[in-house]
Symmetry: C2
Subunit: 371 residues, 2 copies
């Protein structure tokens, strides 16, 4: 893996970058659509490349290990070949999903014991297991196995959780040494305590990871707290490595993240909200099931170049949603992911042109005024 | 509308034809994918034109009149513009769906009174209403409003039902006179009684319809009875008009239908079965959820050129189906409709080449042997 950052905004931390991975080049800042079960829900690889212009997607280790299983995917030639996606893939470690199981899981020294949500069988997942599974999946970027610190947490809880994650981080790198196929990213934890976050960042930097991720955000805390954590970390993030904030967020969150030096994002929001009829525009969100769209001949967003906006009216999209048609999920997802990926292209263009502060301010002003 | 039949198979009734409609040319024999609620479930117009190469689709008057309503569709520029489909559309009359409501409907002299399956409100639909709605939808081919004779029916029941449909047929033509935008097809009824079928055909031919449809088949009768009705009608169908058998059927039904002079088919089977995991091949049907496909790297059908077969293994398609992924419905539907439309292309090629009997026999032999 190679990474270079350039066109740093002189007024702050925002920057353009380029990530070269086994399956291709990723221009940053970048948004990664989430492909949980070896599919970005409702979309084909052709939709993602030709229309959405996604350059990298995310796969979920937890879901794939349970069904259809990492061994089958390896036997089918790896996740890329299995799902017919030939561009880069980042896989998460499974830690976040296992952590989300709540009562169904028990955290032990070497990992987490849990029951599958599909058939109830007992499964164990730790740093070693996660590295082995992600190796079988064959992703371009492997994420370290960590514990997502709950919110809220006391300083003691947050420290213990962070220290466990830092120990596991070292075990992940030991299990997956530097190689020329798969990069490994470490994850900063530390709850909502800046000093723990900085301590965690130092621990991650002491290990030879190819990238630095920030985990444990967007877990229920107020937005101001999330931004405060990014503010605390921004001046200390290594300039020569990509910065990835996990599971964030809304379009304005992405702008705020870029402004704090973040290069990579993922979130289920654009795809999940699409299936619920919530669509993103520069003027904020719209809910397509609202009666006011019944006879609206306009597209979701006038200047959007996605297949949905090029061809269909809000009236038609509302009809599909009200009729519970499968095509509703698909056309809505196509628009929302196109919107997110096009927004990242606009950010890259603004950075290339040295126009970041003006672009940022104009976007946030318009998005938040009408939302 | 213009129609010409050519390359008649000299050994029987099969024939090539070409139908010129307001929105384009349709080469026959043709299969029409069903787009019930202004969408062929899970597919975009681009899928239907670029991959499936559908030249005409079917829309359902009953569903569209209830939701979103014919007036909205007219206001949005008609069904073509509403759903962004610029090729021909045939709309049914609503009669079959209303008839299928059973207890919820009451047949009267001038039509049928029924309760909407969506919100229970009372609606009346007869020949005049159906013509008015289909005029608003703007379809290329309008179907006459008729009663689908139940199966089984006594000779008296079948005659009364057929005579009602023939009276309504005349009222449809009166309500929608010959014009240069929309063709109107009459529908032959008569249950499973050949003499009633021939009497009905004579009544339909006495009215100036642009095409002849055969209704009331594939309603629960043994396949031999269905074919017997087609056999009885075949020598008497007008050679200068297109022949359409409604709601039929399996791939071998289509071959049998073409052999009996049928030019046009529609059926929900390829799309509905796709969503249930049943996929069509020349060697019969396969059920993708079967465990034997778990690690099968082969496509559904080796020599199929559809997007699904070009890109995905049975193992992947089984995974999507078992995981209840939306993409499962889509990739399966894409294959099945591609299969049906490609089968019609193969039939047209065989007819053009004067090879119909050999093609028919080889197809039926292979399809039925392994099914």
């Amino acid at each position: 893996m190679e990474f270079s950052a350039f066109h740093q905004d002189p007024t702050g931390h925002a920057r353009r970058g380029r990530l070269t991975l086994t399956h291709g080049v990723v221009e940053t800042p970048v948004f990664m659509p989430v492909g949980t079960q070896a599919t970005v829900k409702s979309l084909t690889p052709a939709d993602l490349t030709d229309d959405i212009q996604a350059s990298i997607i995310l796969g979920n280790t937890y879901h794939l290990m349970l069904r259809p299983g990492a061994d089958l995917i390896a036997q089918m030639g790896g996740l890329h070949q299995f799902m017919a996606w030939d561009r880069p893939i980042l896989t998460d470690s499974g830690g976040f999903q296992v952590w989300s199981l709540g009562e169904l899981r028990k955290i032990e020294a070497d990992g987490v014991r849990f029951r599958s949500h599909i058939d109830g069988r007992e499964v164990f997942l730790g740093p070693k297991e996660s590295m082995e599974i992600q190796r079988k999946l064959g992703s371009d970027i492997v994420m370290a196995f960590d514990e997502c610190t709950p919110y809220p947490a006391t300083p003691e809880q947050a420290r213990a959780s962070m220290e466990l994650s830092m120990r596991w981080a070292g075990e992940c790198r030991a299990a997956l040494p530097v190689n020329d196929r798969q990069a490994l990213f470490g994850i900063v934890q530390g709850g909502m305590y800046p000093e723990l976050r900085l301590e965690s960042l130092a621990a991650i930097q002491a290990i030879d990871f190819e990238g630095v991720a920030i985990g444990g955000l967007s877990v229920g805390e107020p937005k101001a707290e999330m931004l405060a954590m990014l503010d605390a970390l921004a001046p200390h993030l290594p300039v020569d490595k990509p910065h990835y904030v996990m599971g964030v967020g809304t379009p304005d969150d992405l702008i705020e993240g870029i402004d704090r030096g973040i290069d990579m994002f993922d979130c289920v929001m654009p795809s999940r909200n699409a299936r619920n009829g919530t669509l993103f525009t520069d003027d904020g969100k719209i809910n397509i099931k609202n009666l006011k769209h019944f006879d609206d001949p306009r597209p979701i967003m006038e200047d959007c170049s996605c297949y949905t906006c090029r061809n269909f009216s809000r009236a038609y999209l509302r009809h599909l949603f009200m009729s519970k048609e499968i095509l509703s999920a698909r056309l809505n997802t196509l628009h929302n992911l196109h919107y997110y990926c096009a927004l990242m292209q606009r950010c890259r263009d603004a950075l290339d042109a040295g126009q970041w502060p003006a672009f940022r301010d104009a976007f946030l002003q318009r998005y938040r005024t009408r939302a």
